[in-house]
């Protein structure tokens, strides 16, 4: 299976720099003459701006400029629609994108209103206190269901409604399926996914060099190429005059693929105007309001089954909170709509999505990107069905899994990449069996749980399955070059935010060229090095960029062998590449470095059509994504007095096709599970009825720490994707997707004697207290 490099648990190339503090992050960029920006942000969720008085701020020593929307002139434009709506019949979609600085009205707390630039960030922040904005508060839109009532206040008055979109997708005939069903179960579900809270906040440094006529931008973005192209256009520059560097980034998880953030548009503009380097580093407080969230959906879902637990159909109507604007289109709710179907063979599906504008921070994907919501609904429906039908919860899942011989499997609903969601490959039962084995399912339920219950302990098990659509198009590219130094250079357009690209991409190349991974230098996210591509999102790096790199490396391998063949007078098939050398069968050899020198002659003539060097650029654009899958299982212990829940054991069995580096995949899973644990019991975005964010610091928005995240055991199942040569599927989001569904099932199981039915996530001690109280009252009657 594994090659010499591909598939091996190789240590990360990037770690020495990161661990010794040598890696460059955006805030490490210090340039002579650099000035600093701070933003005055709205304190109101919804208000009309009557007037803004900046005169006192302008007088403060050290302040260089103060700008409102009016001062931007024609540069003030609503941002582009990053993701257009999918081609679904009768779709309703209203585009309202964010603006650089609020004009006329503010639509969420934290929306930027005034930009101050000063000699230091301290002075800039002092000046914010000098500004007076006269607001006329308007009633805010907070609750997504009330938002659609006829007399609700409007986020965008000109629309006449808060409905941002409605999409109905169908497969088969649900009503006919329901008519044949033995049982129909319907419930209302609430699922809230929080915010990414990356360790590094956003930041941007723009440096317009008037003598070079060249703009260099360091940006914590997941999509530097797209940022460069867009900014060049907005600023009236040539693309070749703009270099965007996405340096080391301390985590992104989705919100950093959103563009263009107001700050991203304004900082380069300011640098061009002032002819000085300009820096803005988002602080943690701003991050809570100004970087996108994911948040909540409400589902009214129904499942129709036969007596023996076979799913005949699923119907769902749901509401999705998109915040004040919808620049990211429908990616999050489409993911919910599609991923709900999971690994199950569901003949009929009817799903109505309603996307709602609210006076809250914009919603865009955050690790999982709406998949959590769908998985939660489906898994809970199956749990309830299993209980009602008296079928073991793993058995009901097994019975409904898409069998291995049914792939490719067409779900007949349009996915986030605008084509019908077709699963490339999958083999779900072995993953379930392995997860059951690792969590010791049978023994736990038969022996362990009864024994612990007898001791008065409340322990429970949760086990759920999921799929994750990954590796979608359109395309990525890569250039691979063997240098005359013998080192290998790899450049690709995607940005890196901790995914270990410097190692796993190097492994793909090493497998073709047989050079030490440490001698392969990977550059990601610098438009001066590679300027084609779309970005790092949707767990697509290893699939899309990975296969482009693979193709380029293969091409270079051919060139290497061809060149060596010419040198030795031996056919390429008889040559061997090993440890940076090409060997003939009779023991002659030449290093890749020397071959690279020969491939770039400085005098003499070459054959017409010869390309210099040992270099190739290739692109990969999959027709469809690759669908990863897995099973999570956990054991929890609940203290029903303190309402505390401790996760005692956690198991993930994961299938991301071919694994490039198991250490990296496990790291991705661990990180994802940590976020899933946060989403299950700790993290919660709370807005009050005034649209004020009540959880705007780490005192109140509770990220799990090392103490709350349990040790995680990972099992691998490998079902290669037939749709790309490496056979890879994405692994980035899987860890985070089904955690809350498993957690809630486990808590319910632990509290079996209370007869709880939990239809929401996240939970919290306080919420459990309320739920138990309700359950007790119901029992007593």
């Amino acid at each position: 299976m594994a090659g010499r490099y591909f598939g091996q648990p190789i240590r990360r190339n990037e770690d020495p720099a990161l661990l010794t503090g040598q890696a460059l992050f955006t805030d490490d960029v210090h340039l002579p003459g650099m000035v600093h920006v701070a933003f005055l942000r709205s304190d109101y969720a919804h208000a009309r701006i009557r007037s803004i008085d900046v005169s006192r701020a302008l007088e403060r020593p050290g302040v260089i400029g103060v700008y409102t929307a009016e001062d931007l002139g024609d540069y003030w434009q609503p941002g582009p629609l990053l993701v257009p709506p999918p081609p679904v019949e009768d779709i309703i979609f209203h585009q309202r994108t964010q603006v650089p600085l609020a004009k006329g009205k503010v639509r969420h707390v934290g929306e930027p209103v005034v930009m101050v630039v000063a000699e230091s960030r301290y002075i800039a922040e002092d000046a914010l206190e000098d500004i007076f904005v006269d607001y006329e508060p308007l009633p805010p839109v907070v609750d997504i269901e009330k938002a659609l009532e006829p007399d609700a206040p409007l986020v965008h008055e000109d629309l006449g409604t808060n409905l941002a979109a409605r999409v109905v997708q169908r497969k088969g005939d649900y009503e006919a399926a329901k008519a044949k069903a033995d049982v129909v179960i319907s419930r209302r579900f609430y699922y809230d996914h929080g915010l990414a809270a990356a360790m590094e906040n956003r930041g941007i440094v723009a440096h317009w060099d008037p003598k070079m006529q060249y703009m260099t931008i360091w940006d914590t973005t997941q999509a530097p190429v797209v940022i460069r192209n867009g900014l060049a256009r907005m600023l009236g520059l040539s693309e070749s005059q703009v270099r965007v560097i996405a340096p080391f980034i301390g985590g992104a998880f989705g919100p950093k693929i959103m563009m263009f953030y107001p700050e991203e548009v304004l900082i380069p503009w300011l640098s061009l105007k002032l002819k000085r380097p300009v820096k803005w580093i988002e602080d943690r407080r701003e991050n809570f309001f100004a970087t996108t969230h994911e948040r909540y959906q409400v589902h009214y879902a129904e499942i129709a089954l036969t007596r023996d637990g076979r799913i005949l159909g699923v119907k769902d109507r749901f509401y999705h909170d998109t915040g004040a604007y919808d620049p990211y289109g429908l990616t999050v709710p489409i993911n919910s709509q599609c991923t709900l179907l999971g690994p199950y063979d569901i003949p009929a599906y009817h799903s109505e999505m309603n996307v709602v504008f609210t006076n809250k921070t914009i919603v865009t994907p955050y690790r999982g990107a709406g998949r959590q919501h769908g998985v939660f609904v489906m898994e809970r429906l199956l749990d309830i069905a299993a209980k009602e039908l008296g079928i073991d919860r793993t058995e009901i899942r097994r019975r409904n899994f898409i069998p291995p011989d049914k792939f490719p499997y067409n779900n007949e609903v349009i996915y986030q990449d605008f084509v019908p969601l077709v699963y490339d490959s999958g083999n779900y039962e072995p993953a379930l069996e392995l997860a059951k084995k690792l969590i010791d399912y049978d023994r736990f339920l038969k022996e362990e749980q009864p024994r612990l219950r007898a001791e008065g302990k409340h322990v429970g098990l949760g086990i759920v399955a999921y799929v994750e659509g990954t590796g979608i198009g359109p395309y990525e590219g890569a250039r691979v070059q063997v240098e005359t130094t013998g080192k290998v250079n790899v450049a690709t357009g995607v940005g890196t935010q901790g995914q270990s690209h410097f190692t796993s991409f190097a492994q793909i190349v090493a497998e073709q060229l047989d050079v030490d991974v440490r001698n392969i230098r990977v550059v990601t996210g610098d438009t001066a090095e590679f300027h084609w591509g779309t970005g790092t999102f949707a767990s697509r790096g290893a699939v899309v960029a990975g296969n482009a790199i693979h193709a380029a490396a293969k091409k270079v391998r051919e060139k290497v062998l061809q060149k060596a063949s010419e040198e030795f007078g031996v056919p390429p098939e008889e040559l061997e590449l090993r440890n940076g050398y090409v060997y003939t069968q009779d023991g002659r050899s030449i290093s890749l470095a020397d071959l690279a020198v020969k491939a770039n002659p400085l005098r003499g003539a070459v054959k017409p059509g010869t390309e210099p060097g040992l270099e190739a650029t290739m692109y990969f654009g999959p027709e469809r994504g690759a669908t990863a899958s897995g099973v999570h299982a956990m054991i929890v212990e609940v203290d029903p007095e303190l309402m505390d829940v401790k996760i005692r054991k956690y198991v993930v069995v994961h299938d991301c096709g071919k694994v490039i580096n198991p250490l990296v995949v496990e790291g991705q899973i661990h990180g994802g599970v940590a976020q899933g644990v946060g989403n299950s019991f700790y993290e919660e975005i709370v807005y009050n009825e005034d649209g004020q964010l009540l959880t705007a610091s780490f005192m109140d928005y509770l990220l799990p720490t090392a103490m709350e995240v349990p040790p995680i055991e990972v099992g691998h199942v490998e079902t290669p994707s037939p749709w790309n040569e490496l056979g890879t599927k994405g692994a980035g989001e899987a860890g985070a997707i089904p955690t809350a569904a498993a957690f809630v099932q486990a808590v319910e199981d632990a509290l079996a004697d209370y007869d709880l039915e939990i239809l929401e996530a996240p939970l919290s001690p306080n919420r459990l207290f309320e739920l138990l109280k309700e359950a007790k009252q119901k029992k007593e009657g």
Partner: protein, 292 residues
């Protein structure tokens, strides 16, 4: 999240420090471990014009035996020093048991006893423990020095008996009486967070095993450490039976606290937690008293 400009003074003696406080009054704030003050300044919730940094005042950092069998702690003593002090472990087992509940090791390395009680966060451990121990706080200014009993030092939310020109220099904690058991417990959302509710108990039994005295102090459920009146009313003179302890815990949680609700816990849930924790600490304190 940058503070506005301020003047920075770094005295090396208490005399110098109180002289600065006298000079700048309301405009000045002492800086101890900075673990509460610096975040509030970065959020611009506090905007002191002058910081009087106490970190070079060596004479304020000590843990000493007191003649009455208790312990004297200098205001600038770090939480970690208290946590690791053998003297505290021997003489003040309740305090010893409680300190590890304060925040995380990094914060305990910086945060100070004087800073914690001066800040007077109602959810903080040290104010509650100081009250549970019937501690006294010594305040100094250029006008002289005075001792304030802990019960009178904490006046309300982030409010103490400190005058603007005064600072805390020492905390005196008497030892618990003989035949006394102790216990502390709290519930926080995550390891190291400020607790939703915490409770400290000290129970003294008579030679016959009846309850002579009970101290039950809550944190996080009022505007300051809340001392229970109901618990002694229920228990003193009684056998510490499970039912009696349950009744004491229930009544204390009903009568003696004034919990508030926030994003983490409703007032009702805090009250519930208070009764559960009170029962747990009372039970453990009684067991320990019986074992002595």
């Amino acid at each position: 999240m940058k503070p506005p400009a301020f003047k920075y003074l770094a005295p090396t003696t208490v005399d110098e420090a109180v002289a600065y406080l006298a000079e700048y009054g309301y405009d000045a704030k002492p800086l101890a471990g900075g673990q509460s003050l610096i975040p509030t300044m970065n959020f611009r919730l506090a905007q002191p014009a002058v910081l009087v940094d106490l970190n070079r005042v060596q004479e304020l950092s000590y843990i000493r035996p007191a003649e009455d069998g208790g312990v004297l702690i200098g205001a600038m003593t770090r939480h970690v020093q208290v946590e690791r002090s053998d003297l505290v472990a021997q003489r003040l087992p309740l305090l010893h048991e409680t300190v590890p509940f304060i925040a995380h090791p990094q914060i305990r390395n910086r945060g100070t006893y004087g800073g914690s009680i001066s800040h007077a966060d109602p959810a903080a451990e040290l104010p509650a423990i100081t009250v549970a121990h019937r501690g006294r706080v010594q305040l100094r200014s250029t006008r002289g020095s005075r001792w304030v009993p802990a019960e009178e030092f904490f006046l309300g939310l982030f409010t103490t008996a400190l005058e603007p020109d005064e600072m805390v220099v020492e905390i005196a904690l008497p030892a618990l009486p003989p035949r006394t058991g102790w216990a502390f417990d709290e519930f926080s959302r995550r390891h190291g967070d400020f607790a939703l509710v915490g409770v400290a108990a000290a129970v003294t039994l008579s030679a016959q095993g009846r309850v002579d005295e009970v101290r039950l102090v809550f944190m996080g459920v009022g505007d300051r450490p809340m001392t229970s009146a109901a618990a002694p009313a229920v228990l003193v003179g009684q056998e510490p039976s499970d039912e009696a302890l349950e009744e004491a815990a229930q009544r204390a949680a009903q009568e003696d606290i004034d919990p508030f609700g926030d994003v983490h816990a409703s007032a009702a849930f805090r009250r519930h937690l208070a009764s559960v924790l009170a029962k747990r600490v009372l039970t453990r304190a009684v067991e320990r008293a019986q074992a002595r």
